[in-house]
Structures are given as structure tokens and as C-alpha cells.
């Protein structure tokens, strides 16, 4: 079973509406590249021109922020859960 990547609602337009998609790769960076190969445009929303995860997006592996693990080198194994969590601006109106 590959990695399960949880997609927030605003990014589901890149995944044909899917709330989660499979990802292949030995670490977070590889899984993101794998996602981009099948869901074009997704990586640009997550990473900047230098390939770093945008500051207002958090990635969690099995509930832990990768910034406290090994960043994009955080290892993944089959069955792991990778959640994409952006900051949300709205709520008043």
C-alpha cells in the first residue's frame, strides 16, 4: 500500500476532487514529485521556486510536522499518511 496523501479542499481541483490520493516515494520530497507527475500544478502550490515548502503550508507525516522531522527528506513507508495543511484566512463573512 503506497503512502496516502490527504488533499485539502482548495487543492482538490488538481486531483479531480479526490480528498486523498496515493503517493510513491521513499521520502516526502519524492512523494511530492510523484504527485506532480500525476496531478500537474499541485507542487507549485506547495513549494516555492527553490523547491522549499511554502511557509503557509504544513506537511504532516502520521500527524507530525515535517519541519520537526527531516523536512522533505522525512522518510516514508507504505501505509504512511501525509497530510497537506494550509493556513486558512477566512471566517468572518
Amino acid at each position: 500500500m503506497p503512502v496516502t496523501v490527504k488533499i485539502p479542499t482548495p487543492l482538490r481541483k488538481f486531483t479531480a476532487g479526490a480528498e486523498s490520493v496515493p503517493g510513491e516515494g521513499a521520502n516526502v520530497g519524492e512523494v511530492l514529485a510523484d504527485l506532480e507527475s500525476r496531478h500537474s500544478g499541485l507542487q507549485e502550490r506547495l513549494c516555492d521556486e527553490q523547491g522549499k515548502v511554502r511557509r503557509f503550508v504544513n506537511l504532516y507525516v502520521n500527524g507530525e510536522d515535517i519541519r520537526f522531522l527531516q523536512q522533505l527528506d522525512t522518510p516514508l513507508k507504505d501505509g504512511d499518511d501525509l497530510a497537506i495543511v494550509p493556513a486558512i484566512a477566512g471566517g468572518r463573512d
Partner: protein
Amino acid sequence: MPKTCAIVGIGGLGAPAAALLGSFGDCNLRLLDDDCVDLSNLPRQPLFGEMDIGQRKAGVAARHIQDRLPGLSVEFREERLSTANAANLLAGADVVIDGTDNLGSKRFLNQWCCADRTPLIHAGASGWDGQLTTILPGQSACLACLFGDLSDEIGGAETPNCEQDGILGPVVGAIGLAAAREAIALMRGESPALAGRLAILDGRTQRWRSLNTRRRPECPACGKLA
């Protein structure tokens, strides 16, 4: 002595939170918003009705809550929070609920509450998604620990927001009520469930998830707090 809960933004998040805290009763409420009730608000903000359209939200909300509970202490300020008035508007608040709808306000509230060491319940909702966390300055991760400086120039146009994604009443309402629940815990002197956790609601699937959060030592807002 009752604690004081300040709610900044009396809209989709803040209005249900205010209504619930009004029912809770054992607190002083302070409602802050400079906006007026609009017809488009009504599907998501059940505290308001057609007769309130055009009137300032904070005052209307305060009046409706006090009509139901005349003995409750409810203040309101029809002002937008800024560096010039924050100390005055938030003075004495034991807990603050972030019901704002833009990154600039959320960033400012986070900075102010961290500097003042006032617990802040950060909440946000857009489209089908909502999230919240309770920030205990110096103890649990703050908004800047989680999402950086939230500069509008870098991320503002790309983060989920109501203008782009719309907003669903039950989603924003659920987040607002969850925020009120956290505020009640704090005012009762209990440990809030969401300090050190980010709760996320997927309104389409009705699933809640919880993610662990951690303070960043280099955080510009709270890194120096012991």
C-alpha cells in the same frame, strides 16, 4: 469573578461563538467588529436577521444576546482592531477568539496575544474546510510557529479564503462552536483540548482530524517566551 472573553470578528466564526458563550452565561463577553450586517451574511450567521441588515454587527449581536440573557455582561466595540486600539480593546481579556477573515488580522492578533501572554483561540474556515488551535503563549505553538509570518505579499493570495472558495454555514459554524468550547475550558481554568493540537474539519466528509503542533524556538512571535 467571571472571566472576560473577547471575540474579534462577529461573523461566521464569531457570531456562533458569541451566541454559545452567551448561553454559557458565566463570563463577560466583549464583541469587536466594525462591519455591518449584510444580506449575504444571513445563511451563515444565524445570530442576525433581516431586520439587522445595515446595522453594525457588534452592537446587534450584543443586543440579541442580552435580549435572551438580560443578566449577562456584554460589551461591544464597533471598531477594527489595530495597533492603535488593541491595548484598549483587548485590555483585561482572559481569552481571545479570532473570528477574523484575513491573514493580516490573524497575524496581528497572534503577535499581540503572544506579547500580552493572553490565550488566543485561532480559528479559520473557508469553503468546506475549517481549522482551529488554542494558543497558550509560551506554552503551545502559536500561529507563527505553525504558518510563519503569514505575509500577505507571499501567501495571502494563495491561502484558502472565503472570497475565492466561498464559505459553508455549517462548517464555519462548527468551527465557531468548537472555538467557544475551548474558551469555556480556559475560563473555567481547565486545560483546553486544542493547546498543542491543530484540529481540522473536512466539511464535505464530516471528518475531524487532529495534528500535533510544536513551538519553534526561532518563532518571532513567541520564541522568546519562557
